[in-house]
Symmetry: D2
Subunit: 397 residues, 4 copies
């Protein structure tokens, strides 16, 4: 059983606590910190939390607290983490880890110096679909991974601080792109170095300084491409999809709008309001169990099991740091309008990986271009002659 302090009583703090205290779990939030007293007391009441405070350090230092969960606006993460270091409390921090790589690096170095457990709450690599898909990829079901793409678009976040550059540190790329970057990294291999990025970002619709739409390509040392598409201007609900392409297979995951639950309602029967949907009549696509489908349950299980087993979590501050480095390069590329290198002062994965080859040997004289079954049941080959470079067709019976 883990006892937690929750820092932040807003949307995400509540979502986290629903997961942590949900089902038949052993874990419990014992202290809640919020900036406003009314938020703290309401939270304490709703979740049966013994201790509440508007003093962040008080919550962290609370003697019963073993683990601190940071669910605050981005600009407050560093401060919270440094206090955890001071009080030697295990810390788990919401995404993105920081507003930029410099901040993330300081946080990473601080927790390592303090020797505390530091987990990164990247829920979307803990969704049941991702876990199973990732396992298949690791088993080789898709062959060599060529392209891993992740997309999160919706009509914009719920709270006002997200829209403010100073507090948030960026727009939809920082808010949503951090998920997508880590999803792609996890399929391509977290030990493969991200080398450079190409990014477009724009403010197309919202009256804000930050970007409300962004697309980026992240090139890895082995030649694989990670891609993200994020937006705060999408209409139709929350679109959350991943696509992975390998030499031997493909994975398509839809985590929200098409998960096998479809409802039509005229709205005459009742004033039904669907969660995160943009309408409450017509065809609606609810998700059965958001907490589980969005990965919260399996994420906290990994965090608390890791603490109890004395091991690192699957997602650590180091991962959060790498994500921030990639996003920094994205923001730079969006301005310079060219590929920008990913600056990784700290790199703990493989080095010197080379691009995978694309010459598939067919026989001594030919490379294999393609093999297909024709309509009349014969096998048709397209081969490249090594000597001449010519492409020939051959039909085998």
């Amino acid at each position: 059983m883990r006892k937690l302090a929750m820092l932040g009583g807003g949307f995400i703090g509540r979502f986290y606590t629903d997961s942590i205290q949900g089902y038949r779990n052993k874990d419990k939030v014992v202290s809640i910190y919020a900036r406003r007293e009314e938020t703290a007391t309401q939270f304490a009441k709703d979740y049966n939390v013994k201790h509440w405070t508007t003093d962040m350090e008080e919550a962290i230092a609370h003697p019963e607290v073993e683990v601190v969960c940071v669910a605050l606006p981005n600009n407050l993460h560093e401060q919270a983490v440094l206090l955890c270091c001071k009080h030697k409390k295990a810390v788990i921090c919401t995404k993105p880890l920081a507003r930029n790589a410099a901040e993330a690096k300081r946080m990473l170095e601080a927790v390592e110096k303090a020797g505390i457990f530091a987990g990164y709450l990247e829920d979307l690599v803990y969704t049941p679909k991702h876990i199973k898909a990732h396992e298949s990829v690791m088993n080789g079901a898709l062959g060599r991974i060529l392209w891993a793409k992740s997309r999160e678009t919706h009509p914009g976040p719920h709270s006002n601080w997200f829209w403010d550059m100073e507090q948030a540190g960026g727009g939809c790329m920082l808010d949503l792109g951090c998920h997508c970057v880590e999803i792609a990294r996890s399929y391509i291999g977290k030990d493969i170095r991200p080398v450079e990025v190409m990014c477009w970002a724009d403010t197309q619709v919202k009256p804000i300084d930050a970007e409300d739409h962004g697309i980026a390509l992240v090139k890895y040392e082995n030649g694989a491409i990670g891609q993200f598409e994020v937006s705060w201007t999408f209409r139709g609900g929350m679109d959350l999809r991943d696509e992975v392409m390998g030499t031997e297979g493909t994975i398509w995951i839809n985590s929200f709008l098409r998960t096998g639950f479809e409802m039509f309602t005229t709205g005459k029967g009742a004033d039904y309001v669907a969660e995160k949907a943009e309408s409450n009549t017509g065809w609606l696509f609810p998700v059965g169990d958001e907490m589980n489908e969005l990965g919260y349950n399996h994420m906290f299980m990994d965090m608390f099991d890791a603490i109890e087993e004395g091991r690192e979590a699957k997602e650590t501050f180091y991962d959060g740091y790498v994500v921030n480095c990639i996003l920094d390069a994205c923001y730079k590329s969006a301005k310079t309008k060219q590929w920008e290198p990913v600056q990784l002062d700290i790199w703990r994965g493989k080095t010197g990986v080379t691009k995978d080859g694309h010459l598939v040997e067919y026989d001594a004289d030919h490379y294999l271009v393609k093999e297909e079954m024709t309509h009349y049941g014969a096998k048709k080959l397209i081969l490249k002659e090594k000597a001449t470079g010519k492409f020939i067709e051959r039909v085998e019976k």
Copy 2:
């Protein structure tokens, strides 16, 4: 924290235990009974169970055991439940409750006389999708429910006892139809009396005495229709779908083959074997988290919470008994080739409900048949003249 005896160490006993002991749960299996010693010892080892036995009563009577989970072939349910009565242990029993209504009735009367908690493990009304859909239906999002249909078809069960009439008590209708009947009941209203059934069943493919394919309609007192389609001969995996139709809306749920997870693999990359799938190459449709998606987690949560709160579970032996009564009528109808009444010696829901009316008043002189928006934006009405019975069209601008 609940301490359980698990009766049965086969496929379903293991699935149950995975759910009960999974995630960060507080509950624990402390005794395992299996008919064969090797099954019991293997189970005890795999799930870290302290006590094992091949004597059913020993497991039930074990002093640490608070709750007994019956995960045995159908013909052993009654015996197990009677032993729980004798030892005054809470009991939760897998589906179907019994092989027929007579057996179910004896079990129901026994647990009520003994005054023990008796939960019915009908997982499919606990799936996250069902829970959310059911809530919408209760809120009126679909208006009056007209038709609730459930379908479970797959290529047949894993264990040999299912195929044997004596042990199983029936074929796919008893095995799968019990789910479907309760799903439909839950949408239509568990307090609405099932009145009569019409059923077709046949042995089309398998060398067995029981039916391997069955379809039935269950008529409820308010005129609503429950329908099930079950088969052990379906090719393509496990098809698990529900469809609900109301006067104001529609719900479609797909719990297995199309849940937003799609994978193609040539099979060259790895020897991947997908769960319950019929192939390991080509397009595959895995489910992310079967335990959660199939309702096991929420079902056991309800059971244990109910025990702790001193209330009944959402699904009780009474529900299991009603399901058996409906299935008995189905088997009879399949033989007599006519509608057969559902014989319910015990009925605890509403009585004297009448069929809902179908005359929608438009104005003093007309009933409303249909209202639609035409392509050119006008509202078109079809009305029935009360006096003459004639149908007229009227266009409003």
Copy 3:
């Protein structure tokens, strides 16, 4: 090039003409008959038709007319067909052929006696998806067909005559069930005799005498089951789906609501009205090319090609007659509440077909019940001992 008279200028007459005169076709409507002059003249203008009339026989007898297309309410089909016989004009008649089997039989005998071409306009066995699926079934891709199910449900027809028993002859079963019956017949084999039916029908919502919801099972001589589900009370648009189950495979076809075209609109941008949809905001599911997807194009191609090649169409009056015989039995069964034989005075298919066997030989001593791949890669068999009837498990490595 064919020259046609179109009888009926309503919704379906216009749809037919759109298809006949559409694309780069050679065929042309040269005469239009409608009961009301304004309908006839408007039609003539819209489709550039030279001759119009409110006298049915005049259109049929028109010297330029080679083919007569009957697109009239059900109660006028027989009269129209008899006039075609009198004037020896080829006739193609919309579905259902007649209001009942007696009427259909008279029409069938009349056209055969007159020796004229008589095609039955059952468009849904001409949809591109059906044509391709049917070909796969005929090639054996699904093995032996066990169950063919078709469903058509929507919020009710556009014109008032459909709702009137006298003109229509029935409700949604006659209107929509005729499609479903022929779809199932075509998968099971049009030469296999439909033997008996079991049907439920009710008026659940609409203020009409006819049924607005019906479900039926049609048993064929070889043991296969055809099923239909039809309703005029469905909410959410037009649901048009088929499902075929065979010993070696499965086919699922969705012809309307989920065809790979999805649109969300807030409705703020424009007053968009989607065809046949029930709403014009939120998620909408249009069909790209209704004329082609619903089979009209391929149906008329077959009709006119057949006339030019001097052969029968794929769908003839005989097929329409068989459908009416099956529907008659459905209506009867809905009243008597038992299986009713299909009375077929004229049967031109196979006779004496017996039910397919279900004993699959494994070896001299066993039948094969099931073969599956286990998670650990071994092949698991369930066998039935011929001598004892016992079911055993066997694992092969």
Copy 4:
């Protein structure tokens, strides 16, 4: 009725002819040219073509020929078009128009100088789904278009010349990207100038010099983004999808792998080979009517109708030229690793369009950031204070 010469008797020439001579069409191929005699004679026999030749000019000059259809490898387009100019024959040319912009420009100028009809055979903006979606977009159902994305990926083309840089002029970007570019252009507006592009391309799998995978962003003068994703290394069949995002809505189109036709087959029943699929067992996703779904029918209808009505086709050589200009910029960007301007020597659309604004007025003091319905039914607003730039939340009841 149009009489055609078909230049090229390969895969695409046959596909075109199937469409042109299909259904009940009036048009006819009267002369076939192929480079190899056996191809020409076989084609002439299969399609009942009176005249065949291995001399390109002979086919074009044939007195009966009114329209010449160019279905040749890319490197032969210019030569064929110049011969059409010489003989003043209407010409319709397969995609891409040319191997690069310079070639395309010469062809465009030649046909305009010759005064002949010149249609560009970009079938994918003629698919029924595209036509209907495009109509909705033009009607404003999606508001202002922000992002139009198109994706075509499959396991590589059938014929050997595609793989050869000299004949093809490029890899999958030229082969498939040309479709995607025109689809995006058509949603964003063909009169809106494409300004600059950012592109990644690589040869990841195939032993070829050309790219087998490419992704590009095309920025338009109004700030909208066109995107394409193309690959010859995708596994799982032919993936053909478009996604359009506007301020008021979303469109998702799937033209191949998920169109409402799903089939599972064990393969035991028959040696079924599905078209373009990568497997012939397991779950397969056929398309009902490729000719119609891929736009061929509506494309040729537009071409021939245009010729008869003396107007331009919807897709002209000018469109093909713009596409080549965009693709040239893509190839350049893939090398220079930065955004590259689209060089359009000829531009016939709007000029001086400015980026659409993103400041949505709420009231005199605020911009509107977001409006959403909360779970408890209230309307929540996020506003930006014009004076301070601060973001505030406001709940309306």
